[in-house]
């Protein structure tokens, strides 16, 4: 009777064994932990500018959003909804409540209220700064569920990872970029996911959810027009290819009717869903669906096909006739308005340059260069066609949708740089399908070979079986090596993608635009905080009812930080008013002072980059002022300011250029300034020339303030001289 050997760590082994999970639970744990990590990653990768500078709002448009959110939290929803702002667009004012998309502000105010309810006393600015990264993290979750719906959980995970760090999305959703797109892309993807889910299940509840998603999108961004045109196009494609089913009818009808009604609650959208040409496709498809399914039902009821053909002929001709007459009447009488300039320029990119210079002047509206695509997408650019191939191999309602979304959004991304943002979720999803399917095939190849070896070794008794298996094993090592090599290649590519994305985020998309940084002579970092210096000077040293004239780029910042009335701002709703300011800036001082006195202007603000080499200043934007001013007032002619078609500011410049108000205000006292070692005084570092008119005298304005690096210059309009 031998004693049993006692293993001292037996109870520990039992404990570990009790923790061992079943495969399904292991998989769930892996998935949940990956999603948690991706959620955190999407948030922290957008925090570069908060860590480097401080927690502040970037750019121009977010300042308006911040100001309205502040107003909303201080005055409540009804005052916000009915707000008339008399501090911008003097003397016209602006109906803010009816001309903005409230989704972003309401969301931020809601988060702020919840945090205060939980007794976190945060300032609304912190909430505003961090809203976009928070919603970016939520977008990764939606991307996971969407990928799961289209393909499988693996594709969902890869999609979540890809979209968490994709630069195309990061560019408009960094911390501090408090703009509509930060929330709108989440709403867009959410609406699409809910709609695809509704088409897949045919449930009214999911369609209702997608209608609410559409309502959120309409409240958040003007790009909702993309949804209301893509979904009818998708329905049409399904009808034409014969993939229609009852589920499609339920999903589209419920979503369209409820979505349209909900969307009309937003004052800025108003009745556009029944009156604007951009929304007519959805209505047309709605009626087409009714006719189509009615015919389908009649066909199902009638057993005789000949009778049905007759019925079909009558109904189709009637329906087409009625539809054509209604559409024709609507468009001819002008009741259905044609496509607005902003969206028409997407179909015809040359339209804006000839007809609407304000739209053409915005840098984000220019066509996209290949380098922008590479910069923003990296490897996704070639994974996208690969993913399209996989989608076509396994066509279903969901994959048809993602293919259409991808192709249409890529077309629009090619027309306008800003729309790369809309294409990013589609590209990430389709690329995720490619990555997931490839990796899955490769690992299945690896695993099956191993299993083959094992079964071969346990079974192989007869020599013939062993020899055949040996033959198989000989060819398979090449396959196995190939699979391992490809897997390593895929891993290398994805790690390069992650490196590129982080580099791009850090270098290109994390600058606040309102604070400039440069490297000093010894590599130390120099910060130019001139904008905020100027705005705070305005806030503290001017009377509260002072009116400031500047180019429209700075309007939102002046009202938000300087708290003074402006003449024009970034909303650009009144082209004539902007043209008046452009005319004032491009005229001689005597003509300009008349215009300024008629607008009650007290201060003029210009941005000048000659001392620092800052190239986004008003002298570089000056030709746009001339074009926009000349578009309304023919007295301003662009060739007057050019010399042989060339734009110059040195001695050879046109005389009108050397004496216009903008030139004088920018270069006042600059002729004595030494900017660079070895160059004469008055050397403009942004243009790289010595200026032509150094001896500037101002008659009706006087210099009020110039910031420490001469970036922002403020002038006071002198009151008229006494008569004696």
């Amino acid at each position: 009777m031998a004693t049993m050997p006692i293993l001292p760590n037996m109870p520990a082994l039992d404990l570990i064994k009790s923790f061992k999970l079943k495969t399904k639970q292991q998989e769930l744990l892996i998935r949940v932990s990956i999603l948690c990590l991706v959620y955190i990653l999407a948030f922290i990768t957008r925090l570069f500018s908060v860590l480097r500078y401080e927690s502040m709002i970037h750019e121009f448009d977010p300042y308006f959003n911040y100001r309205t959110t502040l107003y909303l939290t201080q005055n409540g929803f009804y005052d916000f909804w009915n707000w008339f702002d008399y501090e911008s667009w003097y003397p016209l004012g602006r109906i803010v409540g009816g001309t903005l998309y409230p989704g972003l502000m309401v969301t931020a105010a809601l988060i702020y209220r919840i945090l205060h309810f939980l007794r976190f006393a945060v300032h609304i600015r912190e909430v505003c700064v961090l809203t976009a990264p928070f919603f970016a993290s939520n977008t990764t979750l939606v991307a996971y569920f969407f990928g799961k719906e289209i393909w499988d959980t693996g594709a969902g995970l890869v999609a979540a990872i890809l979209i968490a760090i994709c630069p195309g999305y990061i560019s408009r959703s960094v911390a501090g970029s408090y703009d509509n797109e930060g929330v709108a892309i989440f709403a867009l993807l959410f609406t699409f996911y809910l709609f695809v889910k509704a088409v897949n299940t045919g449930s009214l509840a999911w369609s209702l959810a997608s209608a609410f998603g559409y309502f959120y999108m309409v409240s958040a961004w003007g790009g909702y027009v993309f949804i209301i045109n893509l979904i009818p196009l998708y329905v049409l494609v399904l009808l034409i290819t014969g993939r229609y089913s009852m589920r499609l009818y339920v999903a589209y009808n419920c979503m369209y009717v409820l979505g349209m009604l909900l969307a009309m609650q937003i004052r800025f959208v108003g009745f556009q869903h029944v009156q604007s040409g951009e929304h007519m496709a959805a209505m047309g498809v709605f009626f087409l669906l009714q006719v189509f399914y009615f015919l389908d039902w009649v066909k199902h009821m009638l057993s005789d096909t000949k009778l049905f053909q007759a019925f079909l002929r009558i109904t189709v001709t009637c329906a087409v006739a009625v539809g054509a007459i209604a559409l024709g009447l609507g468009m001819l009488s002008g009741y259905i308005s044609p496509w607005t300039g902003r969206f028409y320029s997407l179909l015809d990119p040359t339209y804006a340059k000839d007809h609407i210079p304000i739209i053409a002047s915005v840098s984000e509206h220019q066509p996209t260069a290949w380098s922008s695509f590479m910069f923003d997408f990296h490897i996704l650019l070639f994974l996208f066609p690969a993913g399209l191939y996989f989608c076509f191999k396994r066509l279903s309602d969901a994959t048809i949708f993602i293919v259409m979304y991808g192709l249409t959004s890529m077309y629009f991304a090619g027309v306008m740089v800003r729309l790369i943002l809309v294409a990013t979720p589609a590209v990430c999803l389709v690329s995720a399908i490619a990555v997931s399917a490839t990796v899955k095939n490769l690992t299945v190849l690896l695993r099956s070979k191993n299993k083959g070896v094992q079964t071969g070794s346990t079974k192989g008794s007869s020599s013939s079986k062993a020899s055949s298996k040996a033959l198989l094993d000989q060819s398979q090592p090449f396959q196995k090596n190939g699979a391992i090599a490809l897997l390593f290649g895929a891993f290398y590519l994805l790690s390069k993608y992650a490196t590129h994305c982080t580099w791009v985020t850090s270098e290109a998309y994390s600058s606040p635009s309102i604070v400039l940084a440069a490297r000093g002579a010894h590599g130390s970092r120099v910060i130019f905080d001139d904008y905020r210096e100027a705005y705070f000077w305005l806030r503290q040293n001017t009377p509260p009812d002072a009116k400031v004239m500047s180019w429209w780029d700075y309007g939102y910042q002046i009202t938000a930080m300087g708290n003074r009335t402006v003449i024009v701002d970034n909303n650009t709703w009144n082209n004539t008013h902007i043209a008046t300011v452009g005319r004032a800036m491009s005229s001689y001082e005597d003509e300009a002072i008349e215009i300024m006195r008629s607008l009650d202007v007290d201060y003029v603000l210009v941005v000048f980059g000659g001392v620092t080499g800052y190239s986004s200043d008003d002298i570089n934007k000056f030709l746009w002022m001339v074009r926009i001013g000349g578009g309304v007032f023919p007295v301003i002619k662009e060739p007057d300011y050019l010399v042989n078609g060339e734009y110059r500011v040195d001695k050879g410049a046109a005389p009108k250029m050397l004496n216009c108000l903008m030139y004088k205000l920018c270069y006042y006292r600059f002729g004595e300034m030494l900017t660079e070692y070895g160059k004469p005084p008055g050397y403009d570092r942004a243009r790289g020339v010595e200026i032509g008119n150094k001896d500037i005298k101002l008659e009706h304005l006087e210099e009020a303030f110039t910031t420490s690096n001469w970036i922002v210059r403020i002038y006071k309009v002198k009151p008229p001289n006494n008569r004696w």
């Binding site: 449930s203 339920v250 409820l258």
Partner: protein, 117 residues
């Protein structure tokens, strides 16, 4: 003459076969069809009224017409989901379909009440 007679015969035959096929549908579906017909009829009356007195205020007109059209469309969706001949919905219990219908109608009419003005 013969062609006219044959087309008239065609129309009559069409009408008769439609009528007989429709008579064979179950009673609950016929009730839903009656509801849809009533809603469309109400919408038509509103459109005729608008044509005679003008469309101001437009939001009230839209909310009236859209509530009729919306509830008709939702009833058609209910009919599709409850119809035993539709293979796609055979796992859906009719109570769930009706609950979805009531929920969507509730949301529809709440929005209509907000939009009426």
């Amino acid at each position: 003459m013969a062609r006219e007679k044959s087309s008239k015969d065609n129309a009559q035959a069409l009408f008769h076969s439609l009528r007989s096929a429709y008579a064979a549908t179950p009673v609950n579906l016929k009730i839903i069809d009656l509801y849809v017909g009533f809603a469309i009829f109400t919408a038509l009356i509103q459109v005729v009224y608008m044509a005679s007195v003008g469309s101001f205020p437009f939001n009230s007109f839209l909310s009236g017409v859209l509530s009729c059209v919306g509830t008709a469309v939702l009833a058609v969706c209910l009919r599709i989901q409850v119809n035993k001949e539709n293979k796609e919905f055979k796992d859906l219990p009719p109570e769930r379909a009706f609950a979805d219908f009531v929920l969507c109608n509730l949301v529809l009419h709440l929005v209509i009440m907000n939009f009426l003005g």
